[in-house]
Symmetry: C2
Subunit: 504 residues, 2 copies
């Protein structure tokens, strides 16, 4: 007799059953974040915040290596500042948190109400071009002050109606770079350079392959001349814009009056850029790699690499097993993974070993080590890797494992990346006419992917596609081979293929 049993998974529903709900459950099971009682705002819990700290550390290092300095600017932007750049304010007006009062006072019924009305409302920054631009107008006066290369780590607020942990929240954390240059070429080079920094970070640390490119004009940042983007593919084959870098031309320097005296003595407007990446990167990483047992954490972005789980059946051996585990932990922590000490957790909670092990599977811990009396006596360890089946075990002499730990972590990293890379490749298709395009995107959720098509940005086309299919132009890839074709929508000549997809 044969019984077919559904494989039990730690996360319900599975990706195949309900992808959006699976995502929420992964975040919850890994204890990364939760919705707060404040509409649209999340609480980032320690396991999630630790990943943000890793992202901050690595990006910050790269920003400093490329000559940028950190600074901090006010969270509030006077309404009149926002209005200086018409497209910009238009882009953000619908999602601004507005401060109108500066105290609380007793109302008629004795309850507290807003008091002390401000002469001018203040907007909680949705992005800081206008307040930083105003400041830069005083910092820049000569070509000697350029380039001005500044970055800020901050919280921003964009009032969102439908929110999703990490991916879209009213308040989120980010960094925003803001730079001023003496020439258009230099500013363009900066915007591209920072795109490169982001792309390398995504691929090397988050193990998330991306397609770098630029946005079509409908999808540019409000006020930008050119927006560079890098798009990742989630496991439901939708796109996720992981960050952007903008060449702002002289638009913002004109609205903010950022002028400098050239070497030759003339007065010119500066050329500016801005670029940002947010806590959304965490959401993208979760959706790109995790499986039906929970989070899969690429070792290079993990804040903890290895958990040691002592298995104690015989209480009289507790002290010895724990001592063996402690020594292993100490030895491992002396080893380096990419020049940083390997981070080890010894989990001696009072809990069943199976339950304990599953809790770390769900948290995405790259390596689990089990140590019982037998391992101790034989000087061995039992190892499980998060990129393999949850019950697939490997055995090592303890000293050997310590020696190999860093290599194994890198191997996990490589495998996670390769898997995502293949997935992106397999699900990106060159399509050649409008019907094929419509058929492609009329498939069920999770069955389409990225479509690469000739497109010449004819007016009205993008709006129509977006309305009818829920699909948007994601980017004009940097590596797009320049070839002659015809726009699949207008039939007119087009020189570029553009990636379209449903997106987060």
């Amino acid at each position: 007799m044969v019984t077919t049993m559904a494989k039990r998974t730690a996360i319900t529903p599975t990706r195949a059953e309900n992808y959006p709900e699976w995502y929420q459950e992964v975040v919850k099971a890994a204890d990364m974040a939760e919705h707060s009682q404040v509409r649209g705002c999340m609480v980032i819990k320690p396991w999630g915040y630790g990943i943000w700290e890793r992202i901050q550390y690595e990006l910050d290092r790269k920003f400093k290596e490329t000559g940028h300095q950190n600074a901090y600017f006010p969270i509030f932007i006077p309404l009149s500042f926002l209005e200086k750049e018409a497209e910009h304010v238009e882009g953000f007006a619908k999602e601004c948190a507005v401060v109108t009062h500066h105290r609380l006072e007793k109302g008629k019924d004795g309850k507290l109400v807003p008091g002390g009305k401000l002469e001018e409302p203040l907007v909680v920054r949705p992005t800081s071009e206008m307040i930083i631009g105003d400041t830069f107008s005083r910092w820049v006066s000569s070509y000697r002050d350029l380039p001005l290369l500044i970055n800020q780590w901050a919280n921003v607020v964009r009032w969102e109606m439908r929110t999703r942990l990490f991916l879209r929240t009213t308040e989120f954390l980010w960094q925003e770079g803001h730079t001023v240059h003496a020439t258009s070429e230099e500013a363009m080079e900066e915007a591209k350079k920072m795109l490169g920094v982001y792309v390398a970070f995504c691929e090397d640390y988050l193990a998330m392959p991306v397609i770098p490119g630029r946005k079509t004009k409908d999808e540019r940042f409000p006020g930008a001349v050119e927006t560079f983007t890098f798009e990742a593919m989630m496991q439901d084959k939708k796109a996720l814009q992981a960050g952007t870098s903008h060449f702002l031309g002289q638009n913002f320097s004109k609205s903010c009056d950022i002028k400098f005296q050239t070497k030759e003595g003339s007065l010119e407007y500066g050329w500016t850029t801005s670029w940002g990446a947010t806590t959304r990167l965490i959401g993208g990483m979760i959706m790109a790699h995790s499986d039906d047992d929970g989070l899969v954490l690429p070792p290079r972005i993990a804040h903890k690499h290895i958990v040691i789980i002592p298995i104690i059946h015989d209480e009289s051996l507790r002290c010895d097993v724990l001592a063996f585990a402690e020594k292993l932990k100490a030895d491992l922590q002396k080893e380096l993974f990419h020049e940083m000490p390997i981070q080890v957790v010894l989990d001696d909670r009072d809990m069943r070993a199976g339950e304990k092990s599953w809790s770390w599977v769900k948290k995405g811990m790259p390596i689990r080590i089990e140590i019982g009396a037998r391992e101790m006596n034989e000087g061995k360890v039992t190892m499980m890797r998060r990129d393999k089946g949850p019950k697939e075990k490997e055995f090592f002499v303890a000293e050997d494992f310590v020696q190999k730990a860093s290599e194994i972590l890198q191997n996990i990293q490589d495998k996670i990346y390769k898997k995502a890379k293949n997935f992106l490749k397999e699900n990106t298709h060159e399509l050649n006419d409008e019907k094929e395009f419509y058929d492609f995107f009329s498939k069920k959720d999770g069955e389409s992917g990225f479509a690469s098509v000739f497109y010449n940005e004819e007016a009205g086309v993008h709006e129509k596609i977006q309305k009818e299919l829920g699909v948007t132009a994601r980017c004009i890839p940097n590596d797009g081979k320049e070839s002659e074709g015809k726009c699949i929508f207008s039939g007119k000549p087009s020189k570029k293929r553009v990636i379209f997809a449903k997106a987060y």
Copy 2:
């Protein structure tokens, strides 16, 4: 003939001439921060923000070593949450920025006005007890969840009418620790432990001696059972509260409903603490150490330790001198100061050497090195220390200087600390009656200091002193010898001496 010349200083006015204005000028000359166009909010410039990054790095490390984890909570607090704790809301109501709308829309005259009125106003966090408490009420259910040890790095907003860079601004940066414990004793121990962390940090890194103790009841944090504080003395002999740690008893766990099941099965309210330190620390450090030539930066908190200034009189030697300077920089950066690489700037700006040197004096750079053709030929360096006169030079064989750099930096650190320590000691006086107290605090600004007096917190006394002298009870020192005395105001028996002072 003798001409008396006033010694020229880099900062005008001097401390003696006008202390508050001197402070503003030091901040400006060091390029640390400036007022923004947003009322009460400052811009922290790279030289100032670098110090905040050092503070963050060192405190964060200490918090993690003591078992705390970082997390992030919403910036907005619903009005109804604040109201749950009567004393707390009373304490902050007058200085709250209130968000009342969630978009901008066109008004009658076509201008943008706040739109989308919120059902419930949101307060921009002045501190996060209520929003974190609400979250903790869901995180804590059993004694197994305790202690819960969380820290947050964030911006907060307290609407201030009179602001001063770093010392008092509407928006400031800080960290706030929030913990829950199973017993009163444990929570009290935590509050004291974190006071200890702050005190050690202030003394060891900021070179700022402080008097740790607890606040009298009039000066406690709104809602706290006990507030621990550490008070530093500025060069005008006024006090600066550098940070606080609060034992909150069960006040906040009751308002926020943080309950847990004990080992024995009963349901109890948790015992909570909170503790915070802010960008104000930077203001305190500036006022404690700087002189009439500008900022004096203790090396352990400096983000740059040494500047190398090449002096080039003969253009044909430029390349050789710069190569010598580059090599020195590389050698120095291989050396460690407190386990971290020494940070070196090579200043090759096109500027007169004298002007260049003064710019670093004003920025507080601990060590300046000058290298000219002679130094290069002899393999030597000319060194100036920021804790000595600006023209006091010392000469070293280059290799010797590299070897000794770390030791010299520590020596500068020690001297700055010792000077401040003596100043605090010399200006703290035990006074024994009310008249002496009034005479002491009726002196001109900058001539009084700290007064240590017997005081029994009789109702009305503190208010009277504050009104008549502008003096407040700063703290009941931890090391106060328990002795019998009489309150100098009420004449009634008192067991404790209390420090009074004018304060920032």
